[in-house]
């Protein structure tokens, strides 16, 4: 990590406050934010959604919309204050000296202009370059961001390249004029984990080479740990802590920062060895921020002073600022969970031998969709029919009371698999039996008694509930539908009982979804799934759309309910840490196939499938000292329309060269199942011994928390 240089900082923000005029007053979205970034430095701004991170970025570029303005404070760029400059002056800075990279690259590029035109205009407008010169420079820059075949990409439209490539285009566009300041607003959030890893590497590399100052905005502590050297934590519009990256992670002083560290599972932790502690409550909306310390309603340490007096942003140590009255006295390691967060660890699994009764058995299940071509030949039916092979040959079993986690990147078929199991789609081929019933048919052909035993928890809290009906009505509907209750009175009592089971109370009965927070909506969704007392609950990324501080609460709730009711669960997620934490068994999917299946602990240490290895290596770990071996996948995920022959992973496999002939066999033959242990199987041509000999991606994680003191 580079030391702070003597040069003046590229960007200095002092006591920035940004307000939006709304009907009947104004809202201060950001208050009292101060930080500076030097050349070659990357400053991470982390926080949950709605805490004002992006507003800071918009304020810097002077793009606050018609109703936003900088109320107080200064934004100094290269020594000059940007506040109050004319649009024309700002325009000359934008793109030339301050560049920006956004969250969703597809949205950020103009769909009807060629990529080349969008890149070149930056140079022709700002530098007055000729078209040919600009073209040459753009191709060079695309090469710099490792874009395959850049000259061809220049002629394409944005929708014709993949998401990872689009993000490279946006990054190249930002770097074209060699800006002094690069603002990156969640640049990898929309990307898959392996693609994210490659883009993060690229960002780290460019920072070193271009000597640019980077403002990196993210909600993900792991990502920030990987690319930033200083970090600011934002909460409810304020900067609550600011320190070098290592210090933030090893010696967080603000209770909010400490809470953030406690509520996400580390890769390698599981439900039997660790407990996640959610931060109680929710982030207050900007117009309802409390008096005194903004965090006090959610803080375990809050005293009278915290309610009465707003803490200042004060130095705790050199380079380490914190906004807390009690920063010196709080010891994160001495923290004990308050009683209402106490949560018993699940019992250890029964000793070897009797596993639970198998309640779901899937055997060589397939789901194909017919694909429509668009050329004239396709339309006339001259070309053979093609299929999207969303799920091919998937087999597994789930014992009663256990949790199966399914991981994989987007497009791997995990969602299709779940849709097929729940009956939203009928299977194309194969066998699937649930409690002895055939469930390859879709819902319209399943008997009601199967339907009620198989329920689902959905991903998006904002769409999981019907906005038109009250909470009570929506939980009551499955009760009525499956005839669990006879009278209205009984229904009301049962709904309240379910609400209490998900740690809500009877006052929620008459609320409408828009009156609930994301975490509360997700709880109601869980209560609704529980209403029919199902045997099996399918959870489709139930926490991925939630803020980290409430994720833990929902995960804990699911664990608790599973213990109480003995429910079996299938848990889909793209986050390997969460899956590891939550599941007994894990299936790793790639292009519609299970590449590896086994007990959760077995998946995370060798022997593992080369794809699992790459996934593990890509997971951002919220610890700047974590040693993660560097394995990156090249190329794009092949189309499910024509999956590669042989092993579906062979086109990107970094371990292929370990086989003779550079793995010629991988492209030709379907790999065999390797079984390193009972119940653990790996779909790979590499012999077990080779797989066994692979170096672990991660240091044993158990020591990670212990390492904190030694590094001080």
């Amino acid at each position: 990590m580079s030391e702070p240089t003597r040069q003046p900082p590229v960007l200095t923000i002092e006591n920035l406050a940004v307000a939006y005029r709304v009907r009947g007053g104004e809202i201060e979205a950001v208050q009292d934010v101060s930080f500076s970034i030097h050349r070659g430095e990357s400053f991470g701004l982390v926080g949950e959604s709605g805490c004002g991170k992006s507003t800071v970025a918009w304020a810097i570029v002077g793009f606050l919309g018609a109703n936003g303005y900088v109320k107080r404070g200064a934004i100094r760029f290269m020594g000059r204050d940007l506040v109050g400059r004319s649009q024309e002056e700002l325009r000359r800075l934008r793109g030339a000296q301050i560049a920006m990279v956004y969250q969703d690259p597809m949205q950020a590029l103009n769909p009807s202009l060629r990529i080349g035109d969008q890149l070149k205009e930056v140079l022709t407008v700002h530098r007055g370059m000729s078209d040919q010169e600009a073209t040459r420079r753009c191709i060079e820059m695309l090469e710099r961001v490792y874009m395959p075949d850049p000259a061809d990409v220049m002629r394409r439209y944005p929708h014709q390249i993949s998401g990872g490539q689009q993000q490279r285009v946006v990054i190249a566009m930002a770097l074209l004029t060699n800006p002094a300041l690069l603002i990156m607003d969640e640049p990898t959030t929309a990307l898959d984990v392996t693609v994210e890893a490659v883009v993060l590497d690229l960002i780290a590399e460019l920072r070193r080479e271009f000597d640019t100052a980077i403002l990196y905005i993210s909600h993900n502590l792991g990502v920030v740990a990987r690319v930033c050297n200083r970090v600011g934590v934002m909460y409810a519009g304020e900067l609550v802590e600011r320190a070098p990256v290592r210090e933030i992670f090893q010696d967080p002083r603000h209770p909010y920062t400490q809470g953030l560290m406690r509520c996400v599972p580390r890769l390698g932790q599981d439900k039997r060895s660790a407990v996640l502690y959610p931060i109680p409550g929710r982030v207050p909306p900007p117009d309802q921020r409390p008096e005194g310390c903004v965090f006090h309603p959610r803080c375990d340490h809050a005293e009278e002073r915290c309610v009465a007096e707003r803490p200042g942003f004060r130095p705790y140590r050199a380079e380490h600022m914190v906004r807390c009255h009690l920063a010196e006295t709080i010891d994160p390691r001495a923290w004990t969970p308050p009683p209402d967060l106490a949560f018993p660890l699940p019992q250890a699994p029964e000793p070897n031998g009797r596993t639970g009764e198998i309640i779901l058995e899937v055997d060589r299940l397939r789901k194909y969709y017919t694909a429509q071509g668009n050329s004239l030949r396709d339309v006339l039916g001259l070309t053979p029919k093609r299929f999207v092979q969303a799920v091919q040959e998937v087999s597994f079993q789930v014992p009663r009371g256990k949790t199966l986690g399914i991981v994989g990147e987007s497009g791997c078929g995990k969602s299709t698999l779940v849709k097929t199991l729940i009956g939203l789609e009928s299977a194309t081929d194969g066998r699937a039996e649930f409690l002895g019933f055939d469930i390859t048919v879709d819902l319209s052909q399943r008997p009601l008694e199967v339907i009620e035993e198989l329920q689902m928890v959905f991903q998006n809290p904002d769409s999981t509930m019907n906005p038109a009906y009250t909470v009570g009505h929506q939980i009551g509907r499955p009760l009525r539908r499956f005839r669990k209750v006879q009278t209205r009175e009984e229904e009301y009592r049962e709904v309240v009982r379910l609400l209490e089971a998900v740690r809500l109370d009877a006052s929620y009965y008459d609320r409408l979804p828009r009156q609930l927070s994301g975490g509360e909506k997700q709880r109601v969704g869980i209560a609704r799934a529980l209403a029919s007392r199902p045997e099996l609950i399918l959870c489709d990324e139930p926490v991925s759309a939630l803020d980290v501080s409430v994720q833990a609460a929902v995960l804990n709730l699911l664990l608790e309910l599973q213990q109480r009711y003995g429910t079996t669960m299938i848990f889909i997620a793209h986050d390997l840490s969460v899956v590891r934490f939550f599941s007994d068994y894990v299936a790793v999917m790639y292009l519609g196939q299970i590449m590896e299946f086994g007990p959760a602990e077995a998946i995370y240490a060798p022997p593992y499938h080369p794809y699992t290895e790459a996934l593990l290596s890509a997971v951002p770990i919220p610890d700047p000292d974590a040693h993660q071996r560097h394995i990156r996948l090249e190329g794009n995920v092949p189309s499910a329309l024509s999956p590669p022959s042989g092993c579906p992973f062979h086109t990107r496999c970094p371990r292929r060269h370990l086989l003779p002939d550079n793995g010629a066999v991988c492209a030709q033959e379907r790999p065999p199942w390797r079984e390193p242990a009972e119940g653990h199987r790996i779909l790979c041509h590499l012999p077990l011994e080779t797989l066994q000999a692979l170096e672990p991606v991660l240091e044993p994680v158990a020591s990670a928390s212990g390492a904190e003191t030694s590094a001080r």
Partner: protein, 432 residues
């Protein structure tokens, strides 16, 4: 892209089929007994039945639909046993149906139970001679029948020794006539072959009047279109870029008021103000001769009326689209790349913003057609709109159907064009 266009074509074809069927059923079956309207309420049931048969209305609806759509000469040919052709009469200038028999063109007529052949001469007149006895064939009930072409352009069936009785509509009223055929097929080529049949209003083929009317309407609509489009797109873009500012408010409210005011109100107001109070323009468009269509003074008021109504709608569309695009993330990108505002608007926004309105404008052509009907009636403009209005009031079903089908074809055709333009403008479809 091929899929997209092919789909549009197919869908258009199906749409046209459904439209023709619906139109036909609505007009011919739904409208009840047309003969009451033509012959008057004092006509006897026999008279009406005879007249219905002469018009071919005694046939089942699906046969009449087929006749109307693709003609019935091919059906009649099988009965007559000779090819049927249309020949223009050099004296009247109108097309006549004749049967082509061994190098001669023949029609037939019955007089006193005897069939006569009428042989067509070069000058259009006919030479009369008795037909041989060999023409009679055996009919379905054992009687001797003969199918030929009569003098009113109908295929007709006479029965030997059993002359029919018919009531003929003349200027003086109904006249009873003997020696009449028993069945008729009024010969027509069908809509698809460019022959929508006879107009009951004029007693002449619909196609004799329609082309001029179409031409007139095209002049009117074309002028309005040329005025509307550049103005509307300009105002729409200006308003969209200045969203929420006073300029936008003014444009928006004005265009709203324009769209919300019916054409006839706008038209009458314009007549009142420009024609009667200020006396700068003639208040009605009375065409004394066919070339008056180029008299611009007559055209100003109708064009202005059409423009007023159309303008508001297109402005609102364009504005909405522009506002949406201006708030999109890629416009934000362009602004934050430091592009000058003009470049952001013209290079990045306009193209995307115009994609939606173009399809909607094309879809909207049938709205324009609706406006044209009213405007033509208000100003007495002799176009397609006033034609269909007069025909509908009269109950002239052939004319109504022809004009309506034409308007639908224009509407559907422009929509197809709009779809294709959209595909060409949108690279996402073009390259998929």
């Amino acid at each position: 892209m091929a899929r997209f266009i092919l789909r549009s074509l197919l869908s258009t074809a199906v749409t046209m089929f459904l439209v023709s069927l619906a139109l036909f059923l609505l007009v011919e079956v739904g409208s009840g007994d047309i003969t009451v309207k033509i012959l008057g309420v004092f006509s006897t049931p026999e008279q009406r039945a005879s007249y219905r048969a002469q018009l071919g209305l005694d046939q089942p609806w699906y046969l009449r639909y087929l006749d109307w759509l693709v003609g019935n000469d091919w059906r009649a040919e099988r009965l007559v046993g000779h090819p049927l052709v249309t020949v223009r009469n050099p004296q009247s200038g109108e097309l006549e149906w004749w049967a082509q028999v061994a190098g001669e063109q023949l029609r037939w007529d019955m007089e006193e139970g005897q069939i006569y052949e009428l042989v067509r001469q070069e000058d259009g007149s006919a030479m009369r001679r008795p037909a041989p006895e060999t023409i009679w064939r055996e009919g379905p009930e054992g009687e001797a029948v003969f199918w030929g072409v009569d003098e009113q352009n109908r295929a007709a069936m006479w029965i030997q020794g059993k002359p029919g009785v018919a009531f003929i509509l003349t200027k003086a009223g109904m006249r009873q006539e003997t020696d009449a055929p028993h069945r008729y097929i009024p010969l027509r080529k069908g809509l698809l072959r460019g022959d929508p049949g006879m107009s009951l209003m004029t007693g002449r083929p619909v196609m004799a009047t329609l082309p001029t009317r179409i031409r007139n309407t095209f002049v009117l609509a074309g002028l309005a279109f040329m005025v509307v489009m550049p103005l509307a797109l300009l105002f729409g873009i200006v308003a969209g870029v200045n969203e929420g500012r006073p300029l936008d408010r003014t444009i928006s409210i004005t265009s709203l008021a324009l769209t919300a005011t019916p054409e006839f109100v706008t038209g009458v107001f314009l007549i009142l103000i420009l024609g009667i109070w200020l006396r700068v323009l003639p208040p009605t468009t009375v065409f004394l001769s066919d070339s008056d269509i180029w008299n611009l003074k007559l055209l100003v008021l109708p064009v202005l009326t059409l423009t007023a109504v159309e303008l508001g709608y297109v402005v609102r569309m364009t504005r909405a689209s522009m506002v949406e695009v201006m708030n999109s993330p890629y416009i934000r990108t362009a602004i934050l790349k430091g592009m000058p505002f003009r470049r952001v608007v013209f290079r990045h926004a306009v193209r995307n913003a115009l994609m939606a309105p173009i399809t909607v404008i094309m879809l909207h052509v049938n709205w324009l057609v609706g406006g044209i009907v009213v405007v033509e009636v208000v100003f007495g403009f002799p176009g397609l709109g006033s034609y269909i209005y007069d025909a509908a009031i009269f109950g002239d079903f052939n004319a109504v159907e022809a004009a309506a089908m034409l308007m639908v074809t224009i509407a559907v055709g422009t929509r197809l064009v709009g779809d294709v333009i959209y595909t060409l403008l949108n690279p996402r479809i073009r390259y998929s």
